[in-house]
């Protein structure tokens, strides 16, 4: 196997078995300088995958490389290059934000105090405030500030925008994009908020029931997926259209979802005697839901 130095994250054939959950044959690649959105329902395996990436959970088999470090063996070295924020991130309740800043600075020599203070202002955080007095949104922003100020090459964020109000969400997304102005820095974030993922991600990976069901660049997804409404008169049968994921008919109208849209499909339908009435683009959320539903039911021919 060739080692591609431009990959920030690489998983090959990674698996982990628990009594009630199995993460199965995970393949994942993320280029340096990009943002990947990791989308899955609750319990789909997002956090387990992320914990394996961080070396917090050891895989049963398979290869994991993060910024050139082999995980979990080189996790100590990797941790200096990775910034990780998760929902269950514990800050010391009775300590102030400023105390946390000094604490992190004592561990990570790259901690940039001026940048940290700038982030506090932008995030509307007061360094002298104690953690126990912070709201949920402020805690998330404080945890993010502590990680961002280290300027890690890879940021791994588990549900960074969950529970944030619209203003805080935009502040966080804006700060994440700011990181990307340095083209050697990479962000991987998991979310079930597909709107955030749709807005800022370059590539998208869908996970369901411990398996990766699809992975690719965002523009490609939005380009290929369409929902079509076709009028199929009695006696006419719809030609088989490539990439049909879902198909449902009521009366003369058939609604079908394709993941390989081609404008020529309109002509194909017309030649068969059917008329395409609407061709709608789909949001990432609609694509995700259709994708999961079809995989769970078994793909149509």
């Amino acid at each position: 196997m060739t080692t591609n130095t431009d990959l920030a994250v690489q998983f090959a054939g990674v698996g982990k078995k628990y009594p009630h959950f199995t993460l199965d044959d995970i393949h994942l690649e993320q280029e340096e300088g990009s943002i990947m959105g990791f989308i899955g329902a609750n319990g789909a395996g997002k956090s387990t995958t992320i914990r394996i990436l961080m070396g917090l959970v050891h895989q049963d088999h398979g290869m994991v490389r993060v910024l050139g470090h082999t995980m979990p063996h080189q996790q100590a070295a990797a941790k200096f290059d990775i910034g990780y924020v998760s929902e269950d991130m514990r800050l010391y309740r009775t300590a102030t934000i400023d105390w946390h800043m000094r604490f992190i600075r004592s561990i990570y020599p790259t901690f940039d105090q001026a940048y940290a203070e700038q982030l506090c202002r932008r995030f509307d955080l007061k360094p002298q405030q104690k953690v126990k007095g912070l709201s949920h949104g402020q805690r998330v922003k404080a945890a993010l500030m502590l990680v961002l100020a280290r300027r890690p090459r890879l940021l791994v964020l588990d549900e960074p925008t969950t529970g944030l109000d619209p203003i805080a969400r935009q502040e966080v997304l804006g700060e994440l994009m700011q990181v990307l102005s340095d083209e050697r820095r990479t962000i991987l974030f998991s979310s079930h908020n597909t709107l955030d993922v749709e807005q800022i991600s370059d590539s998208i990976t869908f996970i369901d029931r411990g398996r990766i069901i699809d992975s690719g660049d965002k523009e490609g997804y939005l380009d290929r997926w369409r929902r079509m409404r076709v009028d199929v008169p009695p006696g006419v049968s719809l030609p088989s259209l490539p990439g049909t994921i879902q198909k449902a008919s009521t009366g003369r109208i058939t609604v079908l979802t394709t993941n390989s849209f081609d404008p020529a499909m309109t002509a194909l339908c017309r030649d068969a005697g059917a008329t395409v009435h609407n061709i709608d683009r789909m949001t990432l959320e609609e694509i995700f839901v259709a994708n999961v539903a079809s995989r769970r039911e078994g793909v149509l021919a």
Partner: protein
């Protein structure tokens, strides 16, 4: 440089098309002049909080249409002779007109009636602008 580009989430068109349209507008209005350097892909991504790949897509299409010139590692400039003939909109217009024709057929309108309706709509728009 602030691009002044805005993205609307309630706009059903993809983000890259919205960005293309607004860049063309700035060039058509003379805000951005031929040969002028425009924000880099990453700069614009950070400013608009939109993924790099989306901006890349918009720039690629604009490059293909001869509106901007992107040189690897050197950023992008407005083309010296930008061709603003709206090929892309033309395609979009065709799709909408097709939709009008289909709906007209559904409602039993004759082609003449449809043509009149389109003319009325255009007249209304002219009046709004007065």
């Amino acid at each position: 440089m602030h691009s002044g580009i805005t993205i609307s989430q309630s706009d059903s068109r993809p983000m890259y098309l919205q960005i293309m349209e607004q860049i063309k507008q700035r060039i058509a209005l003379g805000d951005w002049v031929p040969g002028q350097e425009i924000p880099s892909i990453r700069q614009l991504a950070v400013e608009l909080r939109v993924s790099v790949i989306t901006i890349k897509r918009a720039y690629l299409e604009l490059d293909r249409e001869g509106i901007i010139v992107t040189q690897h590692g050197k950023g992008s400039t407005v083309a010296t002779d930008p061709d603003l003939s709206p090929r892309l909109y033309d395609q979009e217009l065709t799709e909408h007109v097709d939709q009008v024709a289909r709906l007209g057929e559904l409602l039993g309108h004759s082609p003449e009636e449809l043509a009149n309706r389109v003319r009325e709509a255009a007249d209304r728009l002219v009046k709004e602008h007065v």
